[in-house]
Every structure is written in structure tokens, then in C-alpha cells.
Amino acid sequence: MSDLVNKINQFQFMLLISLFTVGNSILLLPELLYRTAYHDSWLAIIIGIGASLLINMLLLKLSQFYPDLTWVEISEKLLGKWFGGLVSVFMLFYLLYGVTVLLFLSGQFINIEIMPETPLVAFSITMAVIMVFGVRLGLVTLGRAAEIFFMLVTLLFILLLALLVPQMELTNIKPVLETPIKNIIHASFVYFSISGGPLVCFLMILPNTLRPNFKSFQLGSLIGGLFIFLTTLTCILVLGPNMQFETYPSYSIAKKVNVEDFITRIELIFAVIWFVTIYYKLALYFYATIKGFSDLFKLSKFTSISLPIAIIAVVLSTVIFPDTAYESMWLLTIYPFYSFTAGVILPILLLCAHFIKAVVSKLMVKESR
């Protein structure tokens, strides 16, 4: 009886984007970026945010030409059934690997830092269960809950930063621009691959949004990037050169919160932030994946394949990273290219196909006269 239909409004869309952008990055990025760009990581993030905003315009333009169609339907319409299907499959596997990798990484974080004696797969399974639960309830539910969770995340984040101000030292950031530009570009590329490229999954969600506009898309990306920027900056300022020894710098700075020697070691409260954002990234990735697969197979009820794909993702998550060296190598070198392909090249391909089709149809109209 709801007269909202199955659409989320612009505000919820913006919040979904910001929670998705923050996602896993807040845990992963400070360490990864520090490896390449050392204490100029914050510059790299700014460049990355700029690049991400540019790519968002591309995505939104593409969706505005075909307002009610998801990615799979657009590529099928523009590129024909077989080539379009191929492109969709490539994209869907990108998203599926997103789910898998994220399941592993979130499980790894909890396993290493909080509960070392539980097997990692237990956390992956739990995350997968609540992810399936959330997605089966529908996008509208995720949107409404995003408003509540975003408020929680913001409050905790501000609290964290406020409590860490006494421990920040500005000398940690100097000298600025000491690292070569090539490293900064590489680091911004890495940022883009984890927070900017995956935004292409929102092409599956845009058809379900009421009147999406540039403002909500860009603002969401900006807010998410701001979160990551502030976290990385705080990590650099608080930890300094010790950052290279920490696997999860953002968790380490939460450990450092110390109020009068009484309230110490309350890092779990801040782990709530990352838990929520990881959950939203997982849920949206998963939603895009099963929506895409069900559009590919022409199913109408997309929740029917949620269970098998979740199981496949969980099982694959135990396979993908045999050790941490492989993981770092993958995230620093291969994943940026993969993300770039799926997040930038494929949308550009579709846009070119759209323009070619428009030009060709104009020419045909002229000829027929």
C-alpha cells in the first residue's frame, strides 16, 4: 500500500553513495597509500576525489540518456545481444569479485584485530548472511536505514577526530611533496580504484531512484571522499612514520584515544563506523550483482538467485588471497587497472556507442528524406 513505489529519493541516494565510497577504503587505504606516497597520501586522495567526480559525471550522463534501464539493459540495447552480454558479464564479474574481496577483507580485519582465534570464514559467512538479509528486504529499506546509519557514522567519526586532536602533530606531514609525483599519481590511482571506480555499480541502482541529479551524486562522492581524506590525514598526523608498521592505521589511531587515562582502548566503538560502511558497500555491490545477473537471465524476481551467489562469493573468498603478499600486490598493482577498465573504459565505450548510434540514426533519417 506504500505510495513510495520501489524508489529511493535523492537524499537517500546521496547517503548510499557516501557510505559506499567510504566502504572498505577507510581501513585499507591509509596503509596502501602510505606504501607508495608516504606522508603525501592526503594529496593523492584529493587528486583521487577529483578524478572520481569527473567519472561520476560520465556515469550520470549515461544514465540520463536511458533513465529507466540498468547497465545490463543499456549495454544490450546499444551493443546488441552478444557483445552487450559480454560487456555485462565482464562488469558483473567485476562486481562479484568486489563482493568476494570485500568479504575476505572485512573478515580479515576482524580476525586480525578483534578476535584472532575465530576462523576468518566465520566472519565472512556472518557478513554474507546479513548482506543477503538486507538485500532481500529491498533497496528502499537499505535507503531508509542509510539515513539512520549515516547519522551514527558521522557522529562517531566526529567524536573520533575530536578525541584525537590532542595527539596530532603537524610536523608529521612535512616536508610536503617530498615524494615523487609518479608515486602520488599511483596512489591516487589506487584511491580511485577502490572508491571511485566501483561507483559504476550505481548504474544498477539509478533506475530505482527518483529524479537523480548531479548534485546528489557528486555530493555523496565528495562526502565519502572527505571521510577518507580526514581519516588518512589523521593517521599521518597522529602516527607519523610509524604508520608503515601498522596493518590497519585507522584502527591503530582509534586505539590511541585516551581520555584522562580512564577511557582507553575504546576502539571497538569506532569499529562500528567501519562495520556499517563495509556492510553498505557489500550490500550495494551484492544488490548490483544479483540485479545484473537476473537482468541477464531475464528473471523478474531478483532475490531468487541471492542465496547461490552469496554462497559462491563466500566460498571464493576463501580462495582468492592465499597470502598477504599476494593481497598487497593485487591491490596495489592489478586492481587499479581492473577497476579502471570496468569503471571508466566500459562506461566510455557505452557512451561512444550511444553517440555513434545517435549520429547514425540522424544520418539515416536525413537519407530517408
Binding site: L4, M115, F123, G134, R144, I263
Partner: protein, 512 residues
């Protein structure tokens, strides 16, 4: 005896004795049915049937007298026709409510069982049913469940007429309309749906009436029977319909645009739709100048009662580093002598508390206080001294119980209690991570619910800034120009809306 399934469409016959036989057979010669045959001018047999304890006997007596007089004057005027038609009698009989002409036996049964008096003349195939109901009812007393310190102390009673009058007393507006239905195939309970036309959303009114019509149930004795049958099809424990015993709560809700359902036979009136914030708000917030402080406190108490056992279990079992060191040392020394892990202790104490709570509802008042002394002092204190549970755990469980009782509605306490056990299980297995996962699941579930089309977590979830004035805090009355519009779809504007067409036109023009 008549079967339950078929409605009997048998008609009354013109013959008096056959009718009397039929009525006696159907009602089984029940001892509280009075069938009195008498003669009216001129030499015509008549019978009057009523249920002893449901009618006002003086009124019946005066009706019989008036009938006698009426027929006498009629027969004096018209010598040819002996008896006037029934419609003539209807129009000229001096009773307050107009008599109804009955021709079918099922209507006859309905009438008699509602306290009407049935009058039948020999030679006519129809009869009259006159309203003479006087039913025993309780006086209006103080509310049992939802107490306030300052505010009206009237509560509804079991009679729906009294309840209607209590609401009418509070809202003297011509737009307060009510529609009545009879629900329950065997019990035929009277349900009244009250709403303020023009404030309540038409769609909600329409959907409530439609759902009430589609109820198929044998008997309705409490609002919950209806509540479970008309709520949105949610597989949920959370209530989406509010119930209250206080007329002032109902009146305020009607002004907000909600619809009230009064069930005859119970003092608890249903209010639909109901959102999550409804269950945390209390009538008293509006009667004190605390501007929402107690509301925030109750909201905080909601989280305490739901989460404290599980957070305590996860802290003590998995994340000991989060406690400040002096507290940790104390807790550790307490827990050293207890044999069970924290989860088993918590489970034990929570179960004992649930048993205590259930027992206290059923206890006769005479042995009430000794049992509470037994429960509180002996069980609590001695369990600690016997080494079964630790003191910290007793404190946590007591805190949970106290916060649970601050919530003004008992309905929301039920899912909280059940969820609390699930949270404790999740905390015992996965620690804080488990609690977080369950919190996400709970919030997602709450956001999924809808109460008659309105999202359950409004105004939190689809966040409306202006509605926050009356959500967790209460802005002073001189600031509240804007009424919360979760239920209402239009405001009473200066322009008076007189007809349905104007209202529809106004709704189309105003922003949704």
C-alpha cells in the same frame, strides 16, 4: 438450534403461535428470555420478546402502555380497520429511537440479542424491534496501565457507548465521524471506527474499513484480535497499531490524523497507523514543560533495555580491554568465584526475571508484596552469595528491567524481550561483532516495516527536518506552527472545506 454457518432467511409468519414456537425453539427456551403474550385493542393478540437482563424494564413497560394507548385511539378513530400498519405505529409511537420493522428471523435474533424488544401482532407477517437496551457496565475509573502524574485520570470502560461519549467530550467537532461494524461471526461484536474527516488521510480510512470488512473470525473479545488481522502483512514482532486506555491520548491522536477503532467489550482502543516513535512517546510529554527531556530519556532507555545484557556479555567475555582498569579488576574478582560463563549467567537471570514478571501479573493482590520481597531480596541476594551469579550481572539485569518499564506502551516490550535473548546469543558467539550484526539486522527490519503505508521509522528514516519538532524532543507549543504530517495529508486551512469534491480538489493542489 440454528447452525452457525447459514444465515437464516426464514420469515416471520402471520400466525402468532407459530412465531412464538419458532422463537422458543431457536433460543432454546433459555431462561433469560421473556416471551410475554398480551392482548391489545381490539381483541388482537400480541407478543413481546426480550432478554431479561439486557433491557430497561421500565422502558418496556412504558412502551407497552404507549402501544395500548395508540391502538386504542386508532381503533376509536377508524372502526373499519382494526389495527394500523406497522409504519403508522413506527411513526406515532413515543419512544426516542425509531422502531425497526423486522421480517426475517436472523434480524429478529440480532435485535433481541442487542437488547431490543421485539413486538409482534397476530395477523401481521412483520414485527417491530424497539431499542430498550440497558446493559450493566463498569464506571469510569482511573487507567490501569498508562499512568500519568499530571493529566486526566479517566479511562475507557468496556462499553463502546461510554467510550464514544468520552471521546466526543474531548473533541466537540462536527467532523468527528464514526462508522460502526459488526465483526465476529458468532460473537457479533460491535466495532466503531472514529476519525476526523478532513484531517485523517482518506487512503488510510478507506484501507482500514476495507480490511475490517474482510475479517473472518468467530469472535472478537479484545482489540488484538482485530489488530493482528488488519495490520500490514509484516512478518514481524513489532506492533504497527497502538492501543491505549486513555481518552486524551485517543483525542490527540485523532487530531494528528490517526484513526481510532473502538471494540465493544474492552477498554483498550486501537489507534492506527502507529510508528516507532509512537511507542516511545507518552501523553505526559505534553502535560509537563520538560520539552522532551523524558522522551530522550525513554529513547535512551530503549537502547539500554535492548542492548545492555549483550554488551555486558561481549565486554566481559571477549573485549575486556575496553573496560577501565579498576572496574576490570573488580569484575574479574567477582567472576572468579562463579562457575558459569557470562552468557549462561545472563540467560539464567533474564529467564528468572521473565518468570517473575509473568508471575506478578497473575498474583492475587493479597500475596503480592511477600512474593516480591522473595523475588527481589532472596533470589537476588542469595544467588550472589551462593556463588551462582556475579553481582555485576545482577546489576545489569536489574538495569535492563527498570529501563524496560519506562517505556509507556507494553506492546513494544514484547519484541524487545524476545530480541534481547537473540542479542545475548549473538554476543556470546561473536562478541561485539555479533551485537553489531544484530543491530544492523534489527534496524534494517524496522526500516522495512510499514504501518498502513507509512514507513515505520518516520520521521527518522525518511528524514523530515520539520517533523523533528515533535519527535524525540518536544518544542514548546508556541513554536509548533507546523503539525507533524506523517499521517495527515493536508492541514486545516483557513478555507473551509464543505464537500467531498472540494476536499479532493484541495488535495490535488497541495504538495504531497
Amino acid at each position: 438450534m440454528l447452525s452457525f454457518e447459514e444465515t437464516n432467511h426464514d420469515k416471520l409468519t402471520a400466525d402468532l403461535s407459530t412465531n412464538v414456537q419458532q422463537i422458543k425453539a431457536h433460543l432454546g427456551n433459555s431462561s433469560d428470555v421473556t416471551i410475554r403474550e398480551f392482548t391489545v385493542p381490539i381483541n388482537r393478540g400480541a407478543v413481546i420478546v426480550y432478554l431479561n437482563n439486557l433491557v430497561n424494564k421500565e422502558l418496556v413497560h412504558s412502551i407497552m402502555k404507549s402501544i395500548f394507548e395508540l391502538l386504542k385511539t386508532y381503533s376509536e378513530k377508524n372502526t373499519k380497520i382494526n389495527i394500523p400498519s406497522l409504519s403508522y405505529i413506527c411513526k406515532n409511537l413515543l419512544v426516542v429511537s425509531e422502531p425497526i420493522i423486522i421480517s426475517e428471523l436472523s434480524e429478529l435474533h440480532n435485535a433481541i440479542l442487542s437488547g431490543h424488544t421485539f413486538l409482534h401482532f397476530d395477523g401481521m407477517a412483520e414485527g417491530l424491534a424497539i431499542d430498550t437496551a440497558k446493559i450493566e457496565k463498569r464506571n469510569v475509573t482511573v487507567p490501569v496501565s498508562q499512568n500519568v502524574i499530571r493529566g486526566p485520570q479517566e479511562a475507557f470502560t468496556e462499553s463502546s457507548e461510554t467510550n464514544l461519549s468520552l471521546i466526543r467530550k474531548k473533541i466537540k467537532n462536527q467532523n468527528l465521524w464514526c462508522e460502526s461494524k459488526f465483526i465476529g461471526d458468532i460473537s457479533k461484536t460491535k466495532i466503531e471506527v472514529m476519525f476526523i474527516k478532513g484531517i485523517a488521510d482518506e487512503k488510510i480510512i478507506h484501507s482500514i474499513l476495507k480490511r475490517l470488512d474482510s475479517i473472518k473470525i468467530e469472535g472478537v473479545f479484545e482489540g488484538n484480535y482485530i489488530e493482528e488481522l488488519i495490520q500490514d502483512n509484516n512478518n514481524t514482532l513489532f506492533p504497527t497499531v497502538y492501543n491505549t486506555e486513555r481518552p486524551d491520548v485517543v483525542a490527540a491522536a485523532l487530531l494528528e490524523g490517526r484513526v481510532s477503532i473502538i471494540v465493544d467489550g474492552t477498554p483498550f482502543v486501537l489507534l492506527a497507523p502507529a510508528l516507532f516513535t509512537t511507542f516511545i512517546q507518552s501523553a505526559e510529554d505534553y502535560y509537563h514543560k520538560d520539552y522532551g527531556f523524558t522522551r530522550l530519556l525513554r529513547f535512551f532507555a530503549f537502547f539500554i533495555t535492548l542492548l545492555s545484557p549483550s554488551i555486558f556479555i561481549s565486554l566481559v567475555t571477549y573485549h575486556q580491554e575496553m573496560l577501565p582498569t579498576p572496574l576490570l579488576i573488580n569484575l574479574a574478582s567477582q567472576r572468579e568465584s562463579t562457575p558459569f560463563p557470562a552468557y549462561i549467567e545472563a540467560l539464567f537471570l533474564e529467564t528468572v526475571f521473565e518468570l517473575l514478571r509473568e508471575a506478578s501479573i497473575r498474583m492475587p493482590k493479597a500475596i503480592g508484596s511477600p512474593i516480591s520481597i522473595v523475588g527481589a531480596l532472596i533470589l537476588g541476594q542469595s544467588a550472589v552469595e551462593a556463588g551462582l551469579v556475579s553481582t555485576g550481572m545482577v546489576i545489569v539485569v536489574a538495569l535492563t528491567a527498570i529501563s524496560g518499564f519506562t517505556l509507556p506502551s507494553v506492546e513494544i516490550g514484547i519484541p524487545i524481550r524476545i530480541l534481547r535473548f537473540i542479542f545475548m546469543g549473538a554476543a556470546a558467539v561473536f562478541g561485539f561483532f555479533g551485537v553489531m550484526a544484530m543491530i544492523i539486522v534489527t534496524i534494517l527490519h524496522l526500516c522495512h516495516l510499514e504501518s498502513f503505508g507509512i514507513p515505520y521509522m518516520s520521521p527518522f528514516a525518511p528524514f523530515k527536518l520539520k517533523s523533528q519538532k515533535d519527535n524525540l524532543i518536544r518544542m514548546p507549543w508556541w513554536r509548533m506552527h507546523y503539525k507533524p504530517d506523517s499521517y495527515r495529508r493536508q492541514y486545516i486551512t483557513e478555507k473551509k472545506i464543505n464537500t467531498e469534491e472540494e476536499y479532493i480538489k484541495h488535495r490535488k493542489e497541495s504538495p504531497s
